[in-house]
């Protein structure tokens, strides 16, 4: 390795390796109490453990060569869509149960729209009203999804 350490490392591959090894280790930890059994009488822990070990090995096979490859950065992460979309979904889940479909849907569309900075308020509100009406008619009345329309 001639080049200094700073210019080496394929970041997306290293991230992959990290996730593979991490998930494999998590799986092994959670399967620690499960009985492995024998080949003829496989226990619940046999296949999970095998898969986790394979996953860790694959993680190493992806990660180790990536350490010495020329540096490559991960695409920039933009926090706004990531955070806004996640918050809007989680909010919808609670709102649908406790506040009814109408409020949940309005919340989801209005908050979700904030993920894109270019929107106009008039458009967003119109879209929210239209989609909520559509959703209520098609899903709640039409398909019979079991969700209250209004707060109970």
């Amino acid at each position: 390795m001639a080049a200094p350490n700073g210019t080496r490392g394929d970041a997306p591959d290293l991230l992959t390796a990290g996730m593979f090894i991490g998930l494999g280790a998590l799986g092994l930890y959670m399967a620690r109490g499960l009985d492995g059994g024998t080949l003829a009488q496989m226990g619940p822990g046999f296949l999970p453990r095998t898969v986790c070990i394979l996953l860790i090995l694959i993680g190493l096979a992806v990660g180790l060569p990536a350490l010495t490859r020329p540096a490559q950065a991960i695409e920039a992460i933009r926090i706004r869509p990531l955070a806004v979309i996640t918050i809007s979904i989680v909010g919808f889940a609670f709102a649908a149960t406790y506040l009814g479909f109408v409020l949940a849907s309005l919340w989801l569309v209005i908050v979700g729209s904030l993920a894109d900075p270019g929107g106009k308020w008039s458009h967003i509100l119109l879209l929210a009203a239209g989609l909520t009406l559509f959703g209520a008619l098609v899903f709640v009345y039409g398909l019979g999804v079991q969700v209250p329309l209004w707060p109970v």
């Binding site: 997306p12 591959d13 080949l39 496989m42 898969v51 695409e75 979904i89 989801l108 894109d116 969700v147």
Partner: protein
């Protein structure tokens, strides 16, 4: 019943008003999402899966199938007119299609694409009708050992034929297998990998994973790259191709159809692989390969025929063996499962109306698509001007309702949001999430068959090499793995997918 009777049975099922309506709806939706970049058939089907629960089994499956092959038609429209592939399988169509459009021959390109697709769809439908009963008769002789070998072969072959690094794809399959094990173990009743959460005792729902990884994560990544507006539309011209176009494209359509039908059968094969391969085949057999990329009609006809043929023939392994060959088929498998139907050889004998109804509906759907696409093309193109900021809230809402409606649980929606974050991380790590779904649906099947095999032989694994079918399958797997280690094969494989990256 003979072949004609069965086909008649299929048509009588497919042309009931309700089934015809869902076929049309699927074809329309497929065209719509094919035209719109940023929404793929995988995400759409994930969103609509929970809704099919409310429909009769055949209607739901007809609609979902229509979305898949409809997207192949729609994807080519934007590829030709705005140089923007609506679907991955239409990427190669942009090469010559857009050049034709710039020379004022957009209409001819679109007509050749649609007619070629229709021809290919007809042939592939016929292939399903012929191959289905034959293969499923063969599959009835499969024991658990053969199924294990078939699944191992299918999973590994899927990683090699799909684009992207093989190791990452294998890792994604393993994660899928692991997710499939969450919940109560079928054989022993032990609770596995659940973090002690009661909600997970029944396992993770396919829909939660599919919507999280393909629905939510796709919205987030699409929003990161905003600024895709302002498309340059090529002018639409005379729609009917010239006699010269027909003369030059019929052979290309035939070759594309044949290649596409074959590649669709392979695990991991499907529309994208087929269109790339068909384009390079045309280039090889052409007398003047240097003209490709400058707007030659063969360069549109062959890949368009191939992607449509492959989209349809990839149903064959699912319908006859019960083994999905790519992530779209994994979705279709779970659509069957929602209704308690396990696709495979027994469906053909016990519920022939499902298999033949679907086959007949595919042909009808292809006919509808030609009508939907050619005269109405102007309408679809207008849709391109709808900005994503008005589209994604609707997709978001459908995703959320879909996940919520399964069990009316807050937990499912939050879990799906979590999978959205995971899917986002996978995209940042440049991991293609498709194989994960394949692993997830095949995991439980693989485990129960493996257990059964080894229980029968009392723990002796040599059965896998003693049974001839299983031996052939495992040898094929070994050969594929060996090929991957050979540098020359690796290079060819990378070249084959190179154009996709660009």
């Amino acid at each position: 019943m003979n072949f004609v009777d069965l086909l008649m049975l299929g048509f009588s099922e497919a042309i009931t008003p309700a089934n015809l309506a869902f076929c049309l709806l699927g074809a329309l939706l497929g065209t719509l999402i094919g035209v719109l970049p940023g929404i793929g058939p995988t995400a759409t089907i994930a969103v609509l899966l929970p809704i099919t629960f409310f429909l009769p089994p055949l209607a739901g499956i007809i609609m979902l199938a229509g979305i898949y092959y409809g997207a192949q038609y729609g994807g080519s429209t934007t590829a030709v007119l705005v140089n923007l592939p609506g679907e991955a399988s239409a990427v190669v169509t942009t090469l010559d299609g857009y050049q034709m459009a710039r020379q004022g021959r957009a209409g001819a390109a679109l007509a050749v694409a649609a007619l070629g697709s229709f021809f290919a769809g007809t042939v592939a439908t016929f292939a399903i009708a012929v191959a289905g009963p034959m293969l499923s008769g063969f599959a009835l002789s499969f024991g658990p050992a053969e199924y294990v070998a078939l699944m191992v072969f299918g999973l590994l072959a899927a990683t090699i034929l799909a684009s992207g690094p093989v190791l990452k794809a294998i890792g994604m399959i393993l994660i899928g297998l692991l997710l499939g094990m969450v919940g109560t173990d079928q054989a022993t009743g032990a609770e596995r990998l659940t973090f002690g959460a009661v909600e997970l005792f029944d396992g993770v729902d396919f829909i939660v994973i599919a919507i999280g990884i393909f629905g939510f994560a796709e919205i987030i990544t699409n929003l990161e790259r905003s600024g895709s507006e302002g498309v340059q539309l090529a002018p639409l011209s005379r729609l009917w191709p010239t006699r010269d176009d027909f003369r030059r494209s019929w052979a290309a359509v035939l070759r594309g159809t044949g290649l596409g039908t074959l590649l669709g059968l392979l695990p991991g094969g499907g529309a994208t692989l087929a269109s790339f391969s068909a384009y390079s085949l045309e280039k090889k057999v052409s007398k003047h390969p240097e003209k490709f990329g400058t707007g030659v009609v063969e360069g549109v006809a062959a890949p368009e025929a191939a992607n449509n043929a492959a989209a349809q023939s990839s149903f064959i392994p699912l319908l006859t063996l019960g083994i999905p060959s790519n992530n779209m088929m994994a979705m279709m498998l779970s659509a069957f499962m929602i209704h308690g139907i396990t696709p495979g050889p027994t469906v053909l004998t016990n519920q022939p109306e499902i298999f033949w109804g679907l086959v007949a509906s595919m042909w009808i759907g292809n006919l509808l698509l030609v009508v939907i696409n050619l005269p109405m093309i102007g309408l679809w193109v207008k849709l391109l001007t709808v900005p994503y900021r008005l589209l994604y809230p609707a997709i978001l809402l459908f995703c959320c309702i879909g996940v919520y409606s399964m069990n009316n649980r807050v937990f499912d929606v939050i879990l799906a949001a979590g999978f959205g974050l995971l899917g986002y991380a996978f995209r940042k790590a440049r991991c293609e999430p498709g194989p994960l779904l394949l692993g997830f649906v095949l995991g439980p099947l693989l485990e129960s068959n493996l257990r059964r095999t080894l229980l029968i032989t009392q723990g002796d694994p040599s059965i896998f090499v003693e049974r001839p079918i299983s031996l052939v399958m495992l040898l094929a797997t070994v050969v594929l793995l060996a090929l991957m280690i050979l540098p020359s094969f690796r290079r060819t494989r990378e070249e084959a997918f190179q154009e996709e990256e660009a």
